[in-house]
């Protein structure tokens, strides 16, 4: 027993010593230079200059390398590692002497652990852990976990990320070692993006076709109404565009609105927008990180054709309590986080609520009163994020998170009219509501030192409901009365329950293997209810549809979606690396089962340091479809699953690109892509009447799409002033058998040119300035080439002639070019235990009236002549917000 305790104490001592220890001998700074000297000579000179004993045998150096060196105030340890890196020789410190030894290929040990934020203890996603002298490194996963296997001996390890300062130190590795590293965040400014030039290429090398959108990007970018927004910030990236001016809808490289897999902490979100897409559901106070894959989508993701937006929210500060509150022209926000048990368990709660009803209610009340009407309209959106997590030892952690959010619109109006015959009382109104509910439970476990396991149970629900009602009461002078009541209600919901098991295996620095499986049960319920009632003198009449449609409410559609995947992030040598994988899926619906095998390959070649040439191919499928009544992503759009007659969408994309930070502080890149999409589903031309779960298949047509483009970007990524400019040249078409006689036509969001620029400037320690400018080709629109007015044969509208419009081609006309300049100034004042954040901004500085849509109307100047008339939504809009954190 005493022996075990002694062993444990010894282990603890060594454990602490190995990464808690400083090495003053190695940290001493030395300057010396030499030309074409052998390693033996260089080491002897180093020993002399550094006044240290370096013990070695010349037989250790097989390669007989000669080197010219010029070290200026460089750490002794770094000089040694630099000199010995190519000879498979390392060293140990014995007393005050440095003893060199030959490293054995099979004598390798793993350093693993978590990269964490110093302030909060939260894991940092995609932090780099690098041994620069061996050019080996890894990247932390979504929970901050990393694992790096290296030869025995001393190493210099660097830890850094996009939003944190760099930490580095020497580590003597002679056993598997666990190290949790706490990095200080550089949260507020755009100044420091890449902190180390010599490791910059390691950051970028895996980022093909991927955009990182940090919380710093979101907070510093100009915003609409002072509401920082993740998806609006994403629109500033190449290849990503919105549905229209001010409206949301994420369109990535010619893909459709439903082709984006939007994940909130790994759980799919079906409608990620508030106010028809003007804002996203992602509260900027809750966002920890986000990544948008435009192509080269790894095998672990699937189910959508075009992109993956992976958003991770804060876990909660496990060291101290923090709270923040703020308001802007659009919303109020508050959040609180803190430890449940110090450095072991924490919570995070964030709530956001719009304040649009403060404007809507009085304005609409006033407007209605002018017309003798009582009533008003209100609009509300809100989001609640709650997360809890707890560590259980060094190897286990449990997470629980929920999100609830949604929009509510209501409009109520009532009025009375009286004449000599009767009094009429009327009531009418409309209710619209939609929202997401998401819950997840996760268990992280570390098997050994090299396998990270994540087990997840999730629930996700999206529902939409709309109700329009109309009531009319007529009271005649002879007391005869009539009441009429009319309701139209439309409900749709989609729920899914999922279980996922993901593993990450880090066998050595040249391979990171991920594999796993997931099973998702989807339940769809699209329905409509129409109720009419008319009562008079005891005579009642109700619409027989009522009963039929209530029956439909019971008709849920249930489908199963399962997948397995495996991928290897590999490095063959210093120049060639990549990611190879596959995803196998099974989708069971009705009486059909659909299988697919989706290969994914991403190859990177670096002929010279800091230059990466790459190419990727990925094949994807999509068994869920969004049936859109319009192109902008209304919440009433209906999600439906593939069925016996409607097969899943399938698509593939290939990208070829190059990126480099070969120039000081500059990143330059070019990427081309080609995307093919088959089995696409859309409504048949004009079939806009009511759909439900029973009949949607008969109202759609099947087709295909193609998208191709080229993206350029140039960014200054370091310094007080940072900026980025990108240009996209793109083309995308669609072809459906029953639309436009089967001929291909431009997609509505086929926009040939896009130029985007964003600038950040640190004005002082408190103030930052940002500006963004966007230029784009207008959306495609279909305009009539001829109109014919026919007399109406409808007895209900006998005097209303019908104008029939004729069209040549779909989306053959263009809205005027889109351009807009936004500016913002942010102030951050940090005081002990208190931080103030102030934001002033201007959206659409020069009041460009970018058209949202166009209609054909009779000219006011030339009666009888029809002209296109453009409608804009968002003019010059100043914004303001304030937040306090303590």
């Amino acid at each position: 027993m005493s022996k075990r305790i002694f062993s444990l104490l010894l282990f603890c001592f060594v454990f602490v010593q190995s990464y808690g220890q400083q090495y003053p001998l190695l940290d001493q700074k030395i300057s010396f230079k030499s030309k074409q000297a052998t390693l033996s000579d260089l080491l002897e000179k180093l020993a002399k200059v550094g006044d240290v004993n370096i013990i070695f045998s010349p037989q250790l150096f097989e390669k007989k390398i000669r080197k010219s060196v010029d070290f200026d105030e460089t750490k002794l340890g770094e000089i040694l590692l630099y000199l010995l890196a190519e000879e498979n020789v390392n060293f140990r410190i014995i007393g005050s002497e440095i003893v060199l030894f030959k490293t054995m290929l099979d004598e390798r040990y793993t350093v693993n652990g978590f990269v964490l934020e110093k302030e909060s203890g939260e894991g940092i996603i995609s932090a780099s852990v690098v041994e620069p002298f061996l050019n080996k490194g890894t990247i932390s996963n979504a929970y901050g976990f990393y694992s790096l296997t290296l030869p025995k001996g001393f190493h210099k390890i660097k830890y850094f990320s996009f939003t944190s300062q760099e930490l580095e130190g020497f580590l003597y590795l002679d056993r598997d070692t666990a190290i949790n590293k706490y990095l200080e965040t550089t949260l507020t400014l755009a100044e420091v993006v890449v902190t180390s030039k010599d490791t910059a290429e390691l950051i970028n090398i895996k980022d093909n076709s991927k955009e990182k959108i940090t919380s710093v990007d979101v907070l510093n970018a100009p915003s609409l109404g002072g509401e920082p927004d993740l998806i609006r910030t994403a629109f500033l990236k190449p290849g990503i565009q919105s549905g229209g001016d001010g409206l949301g809808g994420l369109f990535v490289r010619g893909g459709g609105l439903d082709q984006n897999l939007i994940l909130l902490d790994g759980v799919p979100v079906y409608n990620a927008s508030h106010i028809i897409g003007i804002f996203s559901i992602f509260n900027s106070d809750a966002i920890r990180s986000s990544e948008l894959y435009k192509g080269a989508i790894p095998s672990r993701f699937g189910g959508r054709l075009s992109s993956v937006l992976d958003v991770r929210t804060k876990e909660g500060n496990e060291k101290e309590f923090n709270a923040s509150a703020g308001f802007g022209l659009m919303s109020l926000k508050a959040s609180i986080e803190g430890p449940l048990k110090k450095e072991a368990a924490s919570f995070f709660i964030s709530y956001r609520r719009s304040i649009l009803d403060l404007y809507f209610k009085p304005l609409t009340t006033f407007a209605n009163k002018q017309n003798g009407i009582d009533g008003f309209s209100t609009y509300l959106y809100q989001d609640l994020n709650v997360k809890l997590n707890s560590k259980f030892g060094n190897r286990d952690r449990l997470y629980f998170s929920v999100y609830f959010g949604g929009d509510k619109y209501s409009d109520d109006r009532s009025w009375s009219r009286s004449d000599s015959i009767s009094t009429i009382n009327r009531l009418e109104g409309q209710r619209l509501g939609w929202g997401n509910g998401i819950g997840s439970f996760r268990w992280n476990h570390i098997f050994g030192n090299k396998i990270f396991s994540n087990t997840t149970l999730t629930f996700s629900r999206y529902n939409f409901n709309s109700r329009t009602f109309f009531g009319r009461e007529e009271i005649a002078s002879d007391s005869l009365s009539l009441e009429a009541f009319d309701i139209a209600q439309f409900n749709s919901s989609i729920k899914n329950y999922a279980v996922k098991q993901d593993f990450e295996f880090f066998p050595n620095p040249n391979h990171e293997i991920r594999f796993g499986l997931n099973a998702v049960f989807h339940r769809f319920n699209p329905n409509a209810i129409i109720i009419n009632e008319l009562n008079e003198l005891g005579v009642s009449y109700s619409n027989g549809l009522e009963a039929e449609l209530f029956e439909d409410l019971e008709n849920d559609l249930e489908v199963f979606d399962g997948a397995i995947y495996a991928e290897d992030e590999f490095k063959l040598n210093e120049k060639l690396s990549g990611n190879i994988g596959f995803r196998g899926t099974l989708f069971r619906t009705g009486n059909s089962k659909y299988y697919s095998l989706q290969p994914r390959l991403n190859l990177r070649f670096s002929p010279i340091p800091k230059l990466s040439l790459y190419s990727a191919y990925d094949r994807l499928d999509q068994p869920l479809h969004l049936l859109q009544r319009s192109g902008i992503g209304l919440p009433s759009d209906l999600w439906v699953p593939s069925s016996d007659s409607i097969r899943p969408n399938v698509g593939w994309q290939t990208v070829i690109g190059a990126r480099s930070n070969i120039f000081e502080n500059l990143e330059i890149g070019i990427e081309t892509y080609y995307k093919k999409m088959n089995n696409l589903v859309t409504y048949k031309e004009g079939l806009l009447s009511q759909i439900n779960a029973e009949n949607w298949e008969q109202r759609v047509t099947i087709g295909s799409g193609e998208a191709q483009g080229i993206e350029f970007w140039l960014s200054k990524i370091k310094g007080k002033t940072t900026w980025s400019v990108n240009y996209t040249l793109a083309k995308t078409i669609r072809q459906f058998d029953e639309i436009a006689n089967g001929e291909p036509y431009p997609f509505r969001y086929d926009r040939r040119h896009f130029l985007k620029a964003i600038l950040y400037r640190k004005l002082s320690n408190k103030w930052t300035f940002s500006a963004s400018w966007v230029f784009g080709t207008g959306n495609g629109v279909t305009l009539p080439t001829a109109e014919v007015t026919l007399p109406s044969n409808n007895p209900e509208f006998p005097n209303l002639p019908i104008t029939v419009q004729f069209f040549d081609k779909i989306n053959d006309y263009r809205l005027p070019n889109y351009h807009r300049l936004d500016l913002a100034v942010n102030m951050l004042v940090k005081k002990p235990n208190l931080t103030h954040k102030l934001h002033f901004g201007i959206f659409n500085v020069y009041n460009r009236l970018n058209p949202l849509f166009v209609t054909i109307r009779e000219s006011t100047e030339e009666p009888g002549v029809n002209q296109p008339q453009l409608f804009s939504l968002l003019p010059f809009l100043p914004s303001f917000s304030y937040a306090i954190a303590f």
Binding site: I421, E474, A476, L480, L482, A528, I530, E536, L537, V539, Y541, N543, G544, L545, E548, L549, R629, S630, G631, I632, L634, E685, G686, L687, L688, S689, Q690, I691, N692, E694, N695, Q698, R699, A740, R748, T782, L783, P784, A786, V788, L790, S792, N793, N794, P795, E796, F797, P798, I802, V804, Q805, F806, F807, I810, F853, T855, F871
Partner: protein
């Protein structure tokens, strides 16, 4: 705008109608509407249209007029009647029923169920005919309403009375079409016992054109919706050249 054209209609290759004059509206202005009261087309007949316009390609189209539809039965399920609130001389009447189309022919069939009449008995029409009743001097036959809005076989029309029916060949024999008619009748008529329905067996192009025009009108209400292109069977032009055969059926009920 085209106001001068040579328009010819052929039946089985034989010219049966020709219009070469410019089109003139009542106010004397040229309008792009040409009218010719040529003989009514025959059921089963195939007709060709040719329009020659100076400096343009010849516009061509062809259509075949379907045979008259056979109705197996008209069933009246429900009749509601109550006093009109505004005018106590009249009653409101709602009739719900089902139309049984006897379709033994193969292929797709298209119908336009537009109008009906109500009678005291077979000769005394009390609603739907301006010559006998004074319900509404401007009225035509009572329009028939589609009550199965969720059924994709039926398309309610905004610009024409009635609704369109696409026969799905269910069971190969009968197509059961629920309908509703709403009208007012003089309160003095206490008895209703005859319903006469009119149904058109249309060509596919007639059906698709009117369906697309309705869909276009619906889509125009939504500024964000994709506009709907009217169906066309015209070569070198747009529009429809089509026709239908009318049938009627009278049912007596208690």
């Amino acid at each position: 705008m085209i106001s001068e054209a040579d328009i010819s209609v052929f039946q089985a290759g034989e010219l049966i109608a020709q219009l070469t004059l410019p089109s003139i509206a009542e106010d004397g202005q040229n309008v792009p509407v040409f009218r010719h009261e040529f003989q009514k087309p025959m059921a089963g007949g195939t007709y060709d249209l040719e329009i020659d316009i100076e400096n343009s390609k010849t516009i061509q189209a062809q259509t075949t007029i379907p045979e008259q539809v056979r109705l197996s039965d008209v069933i009246v399920d429900e009749l509601s009647r109550w006093p009109d609130f505004k005018d106590r001389n009249f009653d409101n009447v709602v009739i719900r029923g089902r139309l049984l189309i006897d379709n033994t022919n193969s292929g797709d069939h298209y119908y336009h169920f537009a109008q009906a009449q109500l009678s005291l008995d077979w000769y005394d029409v009390i609603a739907g005919d301006t010559t006998i009743t004074d319900v509404n001097k401007d009225s035509i036959l009572i329009p028939v309403e589609n009550i199965d809005l969720a059924n994709q076989s039926y398309t309610s029309l905004l610009h024409e009375p009635g609704f369109l029916i696409k026969d799905k060949e269910e069971g190969g024999i009968y197509k059961v079409v629920p309908f509703q008619i709403t009208t007012r009748i003089n309160r003095n008529y206490q008895l209703l016992n005859h319903l006469k329905v009119f149904i058109r067996h249309t060509s596919m192009d007639y059906f698709k054109f009117h369906q697309s025009v309705t869909n276009q009108l619906i889509a125009k209400e939504n500024a964000f919706a994709e506009p709907v292109r009217p169906h066309s069977n015209i070569k070198n032009g747009q529009g429809h050249f089509s026709g239908y055969s009318s049938s009627f059926y009278t049912v007596k009920f208690d």
